[in-house]
Amino acid sequence: MRWLFLFFLTVGALFISNFEAQADVSETVRDEALNQGWLNLLHYQKNGDAYLSFVENDEFFLSSNGRANPKEEFVSAVRIFNQSGNQEKCAFPARFLYLQRKGLVNGSLDDCKDYQKFLADVQPKSVTMLFTNAYMSNPSSLFGHTLFRIDTNRKGTQLLAHGANFGADTGDETGVLYALKGLWGGYYGTFGIKPYYDVINLYNNIENRDIWEYELNLSDAELELFTAHMWEMQRAKIRYYFLSRNCSYVLLLMLDAVRPDLQISQRFGGYTVPLATLKAVNEIPDFVKNVNYRPSRQSKLKYRAEQMNARQYDTFIDIIHDNKIDLSSLNEEEQADVLETAYQYVQYKYVDGDLELADYRKKSLKLLMARSKIANQRQYFDELKKGENPVDAHKAKQFALMFGNRNGENFQEISFKPVYNSLLDDSYGLLFGAEINLLDGKLRHYDSRDKWVLQELNLLSIKSLAGADAMFAPLSYDIKFGYRELFDARAGDDSGAMVLETGVGQSYALTKNTLLYAMSVPNVAYGGGLYDNGYLGIGFKGGVYYNSGKIRLNLNAMQNFTTSDTARGQTYQVEGAYGLTRDVMLYAGYKMFNSDYHDDEEFGLGIKVNF
């Protein structure tokens, strides 16, 4: 296949050079070549008067200067696609269709065997954008993920559709090298295609992430172009930047290619967060025509357990904890639901690595055998159908103003964070108990000192409070790293320091909205102005977190044992927020640090706005 490709490329190049020598490129062709449709289809970016395609591999272009020269590429394409029996059109069916619709090339794609096979397998019906929510066990998935689905016309269901994912091809590299390369474009990304049932298995069943499906309102002509373009894009190599030109950005490039006047990718490119791109797509008038929620296995299990009556729940717990199946207290409908839920729980445990294969199989079959004897087709409980649409989640950037008092001194504080979500935000549509903030900073002005100080600049702050219950026992963690004005208990004053805290522990779900948590928090600080220049410490922290949507509360206490007197002591903290809207909240906080030397106490009131 590859040599065939190269062969045609060589032949094509010969024709082009021959052609260009005598070409008399008309004005019309020149205009057409710089038409947004053509530019988008080859992913050219304009920089001054120059053009350059995001796609870097030569195989993606028909002319030798194709990557930097849209006109030359256009002329070559028209020329080559008009040659009878040419096979280049089969490698670039979207370009062919585009030019055909302009009346510039003749022929059809009917004689493209591989491409026709692709169409026969995929049987495109429409295009759906997929969003999977955050996965706190993988740093590269903290912000969620977007991909496409080419919906199928096959009879039955969309299980037989195809997911199309843009992912970096990172090989086996690990750790820091991987991270740095990813950040600076050291990897190439390509589109990969696989059956939708595999997509479901990966996200819903293995990683326990909800999938949201947004069916796009594309015309037949746009759908045809999309499918053809996906065919060519499977071989396109685009430099992958984790923070900017990532999976979700390239998805927008695809949309721009099939509907050039969208120009939606133009709005991104700095820092691209999947959820922000999803919101942008949903804001295009009449562009999303259907939304469907596909809850993860964990979401389904939680929902089903919540819906059970007390007898059912007891029976269910007996089955999953003691392997005791006694259904005598339940009617048939109740039994069916308990058996199905218990079966799904067994699947969950197996994937989680907590069950041996033999045991897993035996338990699974036993539960299903019992279930199959209950003829009743009606399900006692509806499956979880409606979720909280992430599109309606709060906005990602936040600006805040606070007025407060610290140890008798009044202060004003301005803070800003570019992304993404904190525990005191409305959790609607987002993972409960998760906090992901990068590069958030605080400037503070003390009346008595009459100058502004950089109070805090965090590189990152990531928390995951995941509530354990009778079914799940996830780990909770809390990582924070950055610069801050640190109170030195010995000196009784602030001093600039770099501080790293890494808490690990467990949370317990008291109710659906309330978590109790306990963590051990190893911490370290370094700052030239600190007594002893810094310290190593271990803190023990306990707290309560509550988020009902409108009202959010986080209170905790921590005892810190440190190598230096600087930070040894107890910290008590209460923070609360009341949402006026999903993006505007009133905030109040109180913090007290208690040590053998000096104490530190502050409180503040303020307003935070997401935008």
Binding site: D121, L142, N165, G192, K194, N201, N205, L368, M369, L459
Partner: protein, 152 residues
């Protein structure tokens, strides 16, 4: 161990590149998950391990060589092959749907075989013990049996 991996992954990677991106399977592997009943012990834990440390091993989609799966990562082939692909790659869901007499996998297979989904579901449920004779059931046998039931 798992905790350490998780933490070092979270920390190291987050520090340098907290990334909205996730590379799944750019090479078109197939047959993830749902294969425990095919007698390949450890596939899911293996996949899970890779997923958990996905930031380090971004080739989650290992080609597992499932018989119903196309090397291009596509749903392909004739009716029988497609039914096999659905059953083989969705075994755990199919087993539950068969026992309940309905569900997405039953709808899919009924669509492929062009039979009524409710009828196929009822047949699968009534014949559950015939389909799943023991816990070592093979996807190929199941496919043959479900096709036989559909035509019965």
């Amino acid at each position: 161990m798992k905790k350490n991996l998780l933490l070092s992954a979270v920390f190291a990677a987050a520090l340098f590149a907290v990334s909205p991106a996730k590379a799944i399977d750019s090479t078109g592997g197939c047959g993830l998950g749902s294969m425990a009943w095919r007698g390949q012990s450890g596939i899911i834990p293996q996949v899970l391990a890779m997923t958990t440390n996905g930031i380090f091993l971004n080739t989650i989609g290992v080609t597992l060589g499932t018989s119903g799966c196309d090397p291009n990562g596509r749903v392909t082939g004739g009716t029988g092959k497609l039914v096999l692909a659905v059953i083989e790659n969705n075994m755990e869901q199919f087993a539950m749907d068969a026992s309940a007499g309905k569900g997405e996998t039953i709808d899919t297979i009924a669509g492929l075989l062009e039979v009524d989904s409710a009828e196929l579901g009822a047949k699968a449920q009534q014949n559950f013990a015939y389909l799943f004779t023991d816990e070592n059931v093979e996807a190929v046998d199941l496919t043959l049996k479900i096709m036989e039931l559909a035509q019965a």
